[in-house]
Amino acid sequence: MAIPISYNVRNLRLRKGLTVMTALGIALTVTTAIFLMALLAGLQRAFVSSGNPQNVLVLRKGSEAELSGGFDAALFPTLKVLPGIAKDSHGEPMVSGEWVVVIVLPRKDGTGEVNVTVRGMMPDGLELRPSAKLIEGRWFQTGQREVVVSKSIRSRFSHANIGDTMEFGKGSWKVVGVFDAGGSAYESEIWADVNQMASDFDRQGGYSSAYLRATDPIAADALKNRVSDDQRLKLEGVLETDYYAKQTSSGAPIKYIGIVVAIIMAIGSSFAAMNTMYAAVAYRGREIATLRVLGFSRPAILTSFVFESLLLAMLGALAGILLMLPFNGMQTGTSNAVTFSEVVFSLQITWQVAMYAIIFALAMGLFGGLFPAWHAARQNILTALRG
């Protein structure tokens, strides 16, 4: 027969101070783990939501990123007439030749300069990215030295409000609009007209990449292969979704550091939980013996104490999650390993992160509770009753 759960709950309540301190220790470890996992979840979301499954990105063969690309503009007309490309609002093929450069902007809070991606695009570039919504002002106009900035760029850098001018390339650019890219990687970009950009950076006659919109996701796959297989072009097609999924590797340093930190902290917390549980067992020597005399089996006692430890860890996990919830959605930036520029993302405490945090805490509780519970279950009844 199992020992009722209320027995454990009452015991935890009896030693309030001990319970609270141990749970808080676990909570701190959980907090750190949640912080790191939320960072990664946010980063992942930024990249995964960026790609459109119907968009094909065209790069020079052998180049792995838009920045290291660059191909002759003379190839563009050939790309434009490839079969399988959707029509834009003017009935023309929906394609956009683009120039991507990285510029340095000073952070608003004065903590240094950051690399930011500036993307020059054709008018179709906006149609190709329906997820980006204009929230203020208007889009840039072809042939004008105008830029639109993402919402997060506006909040993180100075001179990024509508009406301000930004200095890069060969002169100043006027900020005319702000867009919201819904937390995708575009959230870290500044957009402008491709021809203006190319002339400012002496890159006329070429594009760093091109975007093609296929009629449907299946056609996108075929279009991608058509670009890669065309011997005249020496170009490579990649699905936009695949391109961004690969960039999630930017989170690798955070991930490795996070794992090391979480494991070391977890070991420390497990020892602390073990201490508390050993103490709980020691205090209750006679009680345990009494339970045995009443007919509760050894496995029942073992389970009961392990359960108590898990309960303690669970408390810690919940406290940790509650402590971290106010930070949900907090924005931060890191360097994108592929584009070399800053990618902005927000802390995302998803259900998955919370689940992992609970599992992580329970693992600590299990490790911390197993040995003391084993010790409790194996006590000799007679000596314990006398003691």
Binding site: G17, L18, M21, T22, L24, G25, L28, T29, T31, T32, F35, R60, G62, S63, E64, L67, S68, G70, V101, V102, I103, V104, T111, G112, E113, V114, N115, F168, G169, K170, F201, D202, A252, P253, V260, V261, I264, M265, I267, G268, S269, F271, A272, M274, N275, T276, Y278, A279, T332, G333, T334, S335, F340, E342
Partner: protein, 382 residues
């Protein structure tokens, strides 16, 4: 029985509890040591004496733009500049794209390279061999050990930024401290193969006459090219490296956050243990008091016990951290552009933190214990 013996005896009366507490504190302090090492490497270490005399000039807009080749002679004319070489990131693929096969590859000028990087050691005959062979490459000795490269070996680097595959031959193996885990070849090779890179350089590395000249040279160079199509940004080698750290995000806040979580967690663990062990000893406290121990000395006994325990944990944690960093920096996979070193100062700081934590954690429970009324204490059933 001396006082210190009394404290140690008591600290280990419940061996299991003491060991668990010490271990728990040790793991926290291990983490603290790791964080301190990273902090030092990023923000405190000034690099070698030679590094303090070097600066890096790059395109003001971004690292992804190159600088014209004629800048080199113009910069050379700046007073205080001893030597200058182009250093251009190649970013090629060796064997495959696996992260363990990634290392830094630079194109440079073999004639002047060692005049700027005076802290790199390589035999004279290897230097001349490298200067004579346009396909020659010199490699870092730890990197050579990792891939088993010997003089004369062929290395193929597949270009990603530049559409060219370099076929290089090892002409020299250099040693530098700390390891820079990079290879250097003649930039002319790339210039000849790639038309758009002709007469270009990614960055310039300059050796200044003295560390005091660095900032003056930097501003002179930047002023010189301020209104040209390719403005520059010059800074010390260390500041250049720190920009990569800044790109990772708010690293300082990140490290501080982890450190404070660790210290607070240690505090909880230590306080927990002391609360447990002092409560058990209520009757003993009463006995001690009957024997004539003052409240103050009882308080002192408990506090020193807690401090002793956490100091032991701190010491173990620091040494574990030291071993971990030693293992990390000596592993073949590890690449860091920052020297990771553990200093005696860190040991002091770790112990100080541990001692402080022990002190604070013991104060409240010990105070309560010392206040116990003798009669109540003697009656107390543990």
């Amino acid at each position: 029985m001396t006082l210190s013996r009394f404290v140690t005896k008591n600290a280990f009366r419940n061996k299991r509890r003491s060991i668990l507490t010490v271990l728990s504190i040790a793991f926290s302090l291990l983490l603290l040591t790791l964080m301190m090492t990273i902090w030092r490497a990023f923000y405190l270490d000034q690099g070698s004496a030679e590094s303090a005399e070097r600066l890096v000039v790059r395109h003001r807009v971004s690292l992804t733009f190159s600088l014209p080749g004629f800048y080199r002679e113009k910069i050379r004319a700046v007073p205080g500049v001893v030597a200058i070489v182009p250093v251009s990131w190649f970013g090629g693929i060796y064997k495959d794209t696996k992260p363990e096969n990634f290392f830094a590859q630079f194109g440079t000028d073999p004639e002047e390279f060692f005049k700027v990087f005076r802290d790199m050691e390589m035999p004279e005959e290897q230097r001349t061999a490298w200067q004579r062979d346009r396909q020659g490459v010199i490699v870092d000795d730890t990197l050579a050990k990792k891939y088993g490269w010997k003089l004369g070996d062929r290395i193929v680097l597949q270009g990603t930024i530049y559409p060219v595959d370099l076929e290089l031959y090892v002409r020299g193996i250099f040693h530098s401290d700390p390891d820079n885990k990079a290879v250097y070849f003649n930039a002319k090779y790339v210039e000849e193969a790639v038309s758009f890179f002709k007469g270009q350089a990614g960055t310039y590395s300059i050796l200044a006459a003295s560390p005091g000249d660095v900032s003056r040279i930097a501003s002179t160079v930047d002023d010189m090219f301020r209104n040209s199509p390719q403005p520059t940004k010059s800074e010390s080698e260390k500041a250049f490296g720190l920009e990569f750290v800044a790109m990772m995000g708010n690293v300082k806040a990140f490290i501080l956050m982890i450190c404070s979580a660790v210290v607070f967690a240690t505090l909880l663990v230590s306080a927990n243990t002391m609360a447990m062990s002092i409560r058990e000893r209520t009757r003993e406290v009463a006995v001690l008091k009957t024997l004539g121990f003052t409240r103050r000395s009882v308080l002192g006994l408990f506090v020193s016990e807690a401090v002793a325990l956490s100091l032991a944990g701190g010491l173990i944690g620091f040494f574990l951290g030291w071993i971990m960093i030693y293992g990390l920096t000596h592993s073949k996979q590890f690449i860091s552009f920052f020297p990771m070193k553990v200093t005696p100062g860190m040991c002091g700081l770790a112990l100080l933190t541990a001692g402080f934590v022990g002190l604070v954690s013991a104060v409240v429970p010990s105070y309560h214990a010392s206040k116990v009324n003798i009669v109540d204490g003697l009656r107390h059933i543990g």
